[in-house]
Subunit: 262 residues, 4 copies
């Protein structure tokens, strides 16, 4: 993962999931408000969507796990090199572990909507678990690196931890749309911050990395993190406006249809 691509890949995954969860959450809220217009089959439809979502997450996790293991220089499933007497590529195993827990989330997602007797809050639990594990591993990930490197990863840990905390709180208290959108905004923030880390530490233009000892770089990345967040809030606002607009168009078409029907 010590490359631009290694940071862009999880970044892209999180951005996709963040946008998708935002859309799903807004759609559910809109459907709840206009109950009368919901299709008969909408519950079955949502169930199928959830299962599909689970499969996509599993796919992403497996992509990540295989990529970490079998990339050039990866550990190729070897954990301990008995000849050399040392651990093999522990950082790749770190990333492998994080992907694995997101894989568990996908499995829980699929199981939860296939087997009815399972409590639906299981998905939330596995999401918060996956995020907490990610935060925990990331926190213990940068021993002995340089100041800038540690700082950008700490900000990542902050975003991941807050997302996990909100998912954890949702276990206890009945959810409302604001809290869910707050969570997806943290997921989006995490995704876009992964890209930012890639640009800072491994500039794709081939230029040198940023000066890791310059205090001003840290001062700038502090507000850069906030701007990412502001941007993500604005994107969520635009998605909200767009979904609401589409919903209204759909309702109007349907209303017209009923007007025409005898």
């Amino acid at each position: 993962m010590g490359s631009f691509k290694g940071h862009a890949l999880p970044g892209t995954f999180f951005i996709i999931m963040g946008i998708w969860w935002t859309i799903k959450c807004i759609l559910k809220y809109a459907c709840k408000k206009h109950k009368r217009t919901s299709y008969l089959g909408s519950k079955a439809l949502f169930q199928r969507i959830e299962i599909f979502e689970g499969i996509v997450i599993i796919g992403m996790a497996i992509t990540g796990m295989l990529g970490e293991q079998f990339i050039t220089g990866g550990p190729h499933l070897a954990l301990y090199d008995y000849k050399e007497g040392q651990w093999v590529e522990l950082l790749s195993w770190h990333h492998f572990t994080m992907y694995f827990f997101f894989g568990l989330l996908g499995v829980a997602n699929v199981l939860c909507f296939i087997i009815n007797s399972l409590p639906t809050s299981l998905t939330k639990l596995m999401l918060s678990n996956a995020l907490f594990v990610e935060a925990f591993v990331m926190y213990n990930h940068t021993h002995g690196r340089e100041m800038l490197d540690i700082f950008v990863h700490q900000l990542l840990v902050l975003a991941v931890f807050v997302a996990g905390l909100i998912a954890f709180l949702e276990l206890f208290i009945r959810t409302n749309i604001t809290v869910e959108l707050l969570r997806t905004s943290c997921i989006l923030l995490q995704g876009s911050w992964f890209w930012q880390i890639g640009f800072v530490l491994y500039p794709p233009s081939g230029g040198p990395a940023w000066d890791a000892m310059d205090h001003d770089n840290i001062m700038f990345l502090t507000i850069c993190f906030c701007w990412h967040y502001a941007l993500n809030l604005i994107i969520i606002g635009m998605i909200y406006a767009f979904v609401s607009f589409m919903r209204r168009v759909q309702l109007r078409i349907k209303a017209n249809y009923f007007d025409w029907s005898p």
Copy 2:
């Protein structure tokens, strides 16, 4: 912002907003208790007040943002000086970012009460976001400064963080007046502490700043912070008494009116 005025301006903003929110909160509580005496149009009135409040907040935020950018020695919207190869006036950009998030709060306030389909908890969310961002930026704001400077800013971060935390908790649990007053007391504390910071670091009398290396100054500022809080609690108590008194007078006048009416 590295001046007395730069600290007095946000301090004044927060004191005004703190007092206003205190009054609004107590009025709402009083209205709820005496439901029968509420005017028919009171809901529409409150809505108009909220929109006005949002516009005032936006105004304050824009004042702050422009002030930070175009003051003498400000960055004038330049972020990176390519000739010198360094960032331009990052501290001003820090303050700019904080004001910007309060601007978003104002926008959310206006949108929330114009568009009915938006959840009303959005305002709370944006308030807690703005406060958390402020705490986060403040926390990363004082790298390499002196002990006293760091300490007074840490106390500010404490007040801001607690206010943000309470606003965040209000998202989850139905509010009651005590919790809301606790939040406004933290906002007031923040405002009066901004003034205190101005007096400590940039004495307006033109005298020298306090000795930044004297432990006794830190010991004193610790209790000074508590006294600010006690003072704010007493001010809130006086506002409460005054509003309750005015309310009772108003009810008596109305009662007399109804007695006179046939």
Copy 3:
């Protein structure tokens, strides 16, 4: 306060209040369970008790404040010595501030049960405020002291902070007896730990203080803190048993009385 007496006084106050709150809380729980046997006037009685409690707390706070100010070597209400150019006895002012906030708690207690329109949760709020302020001041209280001194005060801060946190959580969520007893156990722990600090730092026997640099002393005080807590839990259990027993006796006497009455 830098003496055995200065730690025994607040310790005694907290032990008295802790035991009293425990009894009140258990009595309320018992009364709630056997509603039919509650006196008609019990609500008025409880109100009078609350007011009396408030007055006692105010009395304790004033005792503490005057003691801190006018003891030999105290600041005698002088804050800054302009001749010497230094602060006067800041540690005494620290203690003064803590007592003052408990005085505010007493005032709130009295006001709350005299004026009906005030929300009853105000008492809880002021209690959590007083405890948080105490924890905050204690935390900034031991700059430049020795290891053992800092450690015993940190444990005190822990007990105070947990008590404040529980009082704060009670603001949000409807209370139950277990949580209230947990809070009183923390208050009791604080009281008995004050005594322990007195014995450790200022042995009343006149012997030398404990060796502040011995790691073993810290190891011992760690478990000593837990034993204090265990002891307090057992005391609360005994109070519970005693109150329940007295209650049952009272009910039996009353039942007999009704049997005898025609």
Copy 4:
């Protein structure tokens, strides 16, 4: 406890309790869902089980306490050696204290289901107390040891603290099965991590302990902790599947029985 056995013993206790609580929690959930099939005496049965559970916990605690005291090299109930002028075997007293609080949990468990007037949340309270005390003592347990030793104990503290936090939150909010399973997963994690500590610090094969100064060992133990957790989640999933399967078999047998009965 400074041996492999001293870590294996509490590890085994926690694994047994973790598995048992998992089974109990799933059974209760299954019983609640199929209310009609519950035996008339099931409540009395559960009560007897709880009392038995309490007695087992007391037994475990006493085993641990006696083992710590009377093992070769233990303190044999002596706390202070007046001849040498030093504390006796404080680490054993630390472990003794932790076992003692779990003993209190057992006592509360028994009392709660014998005496009806006690609130049932008392058990939860004592559980969270026992776990918090364990985390607190563990945290202050490793002064002056080596990096690896401190790190593995810190991870233990993390698991214990999270378990305690969840038990504490359950005091406030009505429980659901997901949260309870999360708690038992933390208890299981604690148990299996005790074994891991034993293997790392006191290899039973008699070989040398791991290199305490190798950063790679810490990097590995970070993910090893996550793998323990993943394994425990999978074990809980398997228990869930097994219990659900047995439940279904039982229901089918009963249904057949009713078919046969005239």
